[in-house]
């Protein structure tokens, strides 16, 4: 019984999701080179690109799903598994490399208990290594979703992570 209800729910969610993807595709109808913007918007909406979503996009654009997958896997931005609420982008650019990101990175990983590309069990954080966030003179630099933090030390980053954890406990989003 419980399984049945879940399945029914799933179907509903799927339908809802399908509509969302379709409306994203509609937004770009008629504009050239729309595949990447559609993939970006889909990922922004769902946090990642599922196999189903790529199939829907392929059908709507009348291209093969392997073409869609080929484009999606080419670019580092696209993810194929769900990500946490906050994506922590750790800069491994030149300035941050010589500016001691190694120490920071080790602290971060041991503090939240995941490696690069992984998501915490509670779904709060994902760590992603990137090359240069464009704030090199404030190295080492970390970006959490769209907020950039510079001149970091273990202590500072630790406190920043704590504020996100705390906000989550209070039901807030930073």
């Amino acid at each position: 019984m419980i399984i049945l209800i879940n399945l029914l729910n799933m179907d509903k969610i799927m339908d809802n999701d399908k509509n969302k993807i379709k409306s994203i595709i509609d937004e770009y109808s008629g504009s050239k080179g729309a595949l990447i913007p559609i993939l970006q918007k889909t990922q922004a909406t769902f946090g990642y690109l599922s196999e189903e979503s790529m199939t829907i996009i392929a059908e709507a654009l009348n291209i093969s799903s392997s073409d869609v997958y080929g484009v999606a896997t080419f670019f580092a931005q696209f993810r194929f598994t769900p990500v946490g609420k906050y994506v922590i982008r750790v800069c491994h650019g030149t300035a941050c490399h010589v500016g001691g990101v190694k120490i920071l990175d080790a602290m971060l990983k041991s503090k939240i208990g995941i490696k690069n590309g992984e998501t915490t069990k509670d779904g709060l954080f994902t760590i992603q290594e990137v090359a240069c966030l464009g704030c090199c003179s404030l190295a080492p630099v970390v970006m959490i979703n769209d907020t950039t933090y510079g001149k970091l030390t273990n202590e500072k980053l630790g406190k920043i992570i704590d504020t996100y954890v705390q906000a989550e406990k209070e039901g807030k989003t930073l």
Binding site: T94, C132, C135, L138, T148, Y149
Partner: protein, 581 residues
């Protein structure tokens, strides 16, 4: 009217500028005599967050400001009329003077409010476009040719020449693309210009569109720059409202529209043909040239592609004449260039200098020398395509030809300063790892050759190097350079070649003596605690992996199996009780 400005570019915000802005907002909430504004990055990232207070035309630049200092400045200066000398960086009733700098590209960043088109217009904005529209396209191109402007995206190709090619391609549809992919780690001038002065880039694109006969343009901006994208969207909207973008611009026959495309995280998409493939919605793989974009570019239409900084120069040149630009610089490298100073340098940030200035002056006179009194070792220029310039070449002039002669390049203008604590083999390995990751995989030598080079470098850093490794590296480097289609592969070996050229002794130390002289390569160093330890627990606290044990006031120990050799303890210890060997 008292004007308070806070620099809220990404770098300012990363240093806490938003809090400072909010503080000023709270303090000036009901005060009609105070106008609070945001501005871009003035380039002095080392003293961010930066705020400016202007009372009857007399401007004071403050930094670094935090919420407390903001309160102090508000009470003493804004309310009390007395500047808080202690935090004043500079003051003037005119334009700020920057030691040995000359600002053309950065003429407005950190000065105007980038979200207000009127600020840009008040400083001669779109005057270049107006002047261009009154001329024939060929005359516009001649001015750009005369200015001597060369592409700032890396290759340094004469901009006027490129425009001429695109202009002479006959087609009913042409495109202008602005390359804002800025993938080179260590460079951030394009971000700063887009965030701090987006209209200057749009104006350059418009002038280009008029000159080559295009009516549509794209800005290809990397997704890591959300603020730049937001500012561009705002700026395009405002320019449309003023008929500066759209149909029959300023009453002329010229129509032009600009779209934004967000990059999706691939360094190779900075390469022009790969960029265009990605705009078309394909995998971003470079293709063989010719045909050049000027003949067959975006959707096979003639296309002119320039870098952000290149476009930012164009409006100024058209407005002030070719001579206002070519009077600066050297014979072959005209004008000014923005450099991003980062790494082990005191005054990190953006600087704009005349081409031809000696490197030493940039690093010491403008950059304030090396951090923490350490010794200069090298400056890395041109990112993954560039090289490391050693101390004995510090008098090299900063221009395309002189830098090329050292094995480095001007590139996009990133300067990462390395000190005695940097290992040059590790730096070379760092870049090879980068290019190896970013190779699109089309050419075998770029795809596999860089992998083999990286393996050799990893081996050397792990203390397993053999004497034949250096010859193998050189051999692979030559083959990769010769057999790659695009500049990513053709230049990928440069960081290895320049470090081998100037720092071969470091390679030899790793290979023969199994030592890393700078103490960076983790396989070749160990941290141990000596008898000086007083058990203060400082090291224990900073260790990120809890490898240090010991009670208070008792000598501590490092568990070598857990230690990741990050050096945090070594840095933290105040009494040299930790040995690095």
């Amino acid at each position: 009217m008292i004007r308070i400005k806070v620099g809220t570019a990404t770098c300012g915000n990363a240093a806490g500028a938003q809090k400072v802005f909010d503080k000023f907002k709270e303090l000036s909430l009901n005060d009609k005599d105070i106008s609070l504004e945001e501005t871009g990055c003035i380039g002095m990232c080392y003293v961010e967050p930066i705020a400016e207070v202007a009372v009857s035309g007399e401007k004071y630049l403050y930094g670094p400001v935090d919420e407390k200092i903001a309160e102090l400045i508000f009470q003493d200066h804004v309310k009390g009329g007395k500047p808080v000398e202690k935090y004043v960086l500079s003051n003037t009733s005119n334009e700020y003077k920057f030691n040995k700098q000359r600002r053309i590209v950065l003429r407005n960043t950190g000065v105007i409010d980038p979200e207000k088109i009127d600020d840009y217009l008040a400083r001669d904005g779109y005057n270049g476009l107006k002047k261009a529209l009154a001329k024939k396209p060929e005359e516009v191109i001649q001015i750009v040719l005369d200015s001597g402007l060369r592409g700032r995206g890396g290759a340094g190709f004469p901009t006027g020449m490129k425009w001429k090619f695109a202009n002479s391609s006959k087609n009913d549809k042409k495109y202008v693309i602005c390359n804002a992919d800025e993938g080179d780690p260590g460079a951030f001038m394009d971000r700063s210009v887009l965030e701090g002065d987006p209209h200057s880039v749009l104006e350059g694109m418009l002038i280009c569109g008029y000159a080559i006969g295009a009516n549509e343009g794209y800005v290809y901006c990397r997704a890591e720059y959300p603020l730049a994208i937001k500012r561009l969207i705002d700026a395009i909207k405002q320019a449309k409202e003023r008929n500066l973008i759209g149909d029959n611009i300023l009453g002329s026959n010229f129509s032009f529209d600009i779209h934004i495309k967000e990059g999706a995280g691939a360094f190779v998409c900075g390469e022009e043909t790969a960029l265009m493939a990605s705009v078309e919605g394909k995998r971003g793989m470079p293709r063989l040239r010719p045909p050049f974009p000027a003949v067959s570019g975006l959707w096979t239409k003639p296309t002119n592609i320039n870098n952000v900084e290149t476009f930012a120069c164009v409006g100024y040149i058209l407005s002030n004449g070719a001579e206002s630009f070519n009077k600066y610089g050297t014979e072959k490298s005209k004008g000014t260039k923005v450099f991003a100073l980062a790494g082990k340098i005191n005054n990190g940030g953006l600087v704009e200098v005349e081409m031809g200035i000696p490197l030493r002056e940039v690093i010491y006179d403008i950059g304030g020398g090396i951090k923490d009194g350490k010794k200069f070792k090298a400056v890395q220029m041109g990112g993954p395509s560039g090289g490391c310039i050693p101390e004995h070449l510090l008098d090299t002039k900063v221009d395309y030809e002189s830098l090329m002669a050292t094995g480095a390049i001007v590139g996009s203008g990133g300067m990462v300063v390395l000190d005695e604590d940097s290992c040059m083999v590790d730096v070379a390995r760092y870049f090879l790892n980068f290019t190896q990751n970013e190779s699109c995989g089309k050419c075998a030598f770029c795809r596999i050759g860089t992998k083999r080079m990286l393996e050799i470098l990893n081996k050397i850093c792990d203390g397993k190097g053999e004497e034949s490794d250096i010859a193998d590296l050189m051999d692979l480097a030559a083959k990769i350079k010769n057999s790659s289609l695009c500049a990513l592969g053709q230049t990928a070996p440069n960081p290895v070649l320049t470090t081998l050229k100037y720092f071969e002794d470091e390679y030899v130390a790793h290979i023969k003596d199994k030592k890393c002289p700078a103490g960076v390569c983790t396989a070749l160093i160990n941290f141990t605690i000596n008898d000086k330890c007083i058990g203060c627990q400082l090291c224990k606290k900073v260790c990120p992996v809890a490898a240090i044990s010991g009670s208070a006031k008792v000598k501590h120990q490092i568990d070598q199996d857990v230690c990741i050799k990050c050096g945090a303890c070594y840095k933290a210890c105040k009494i040299s009780a930790i040995d690095k060997k």
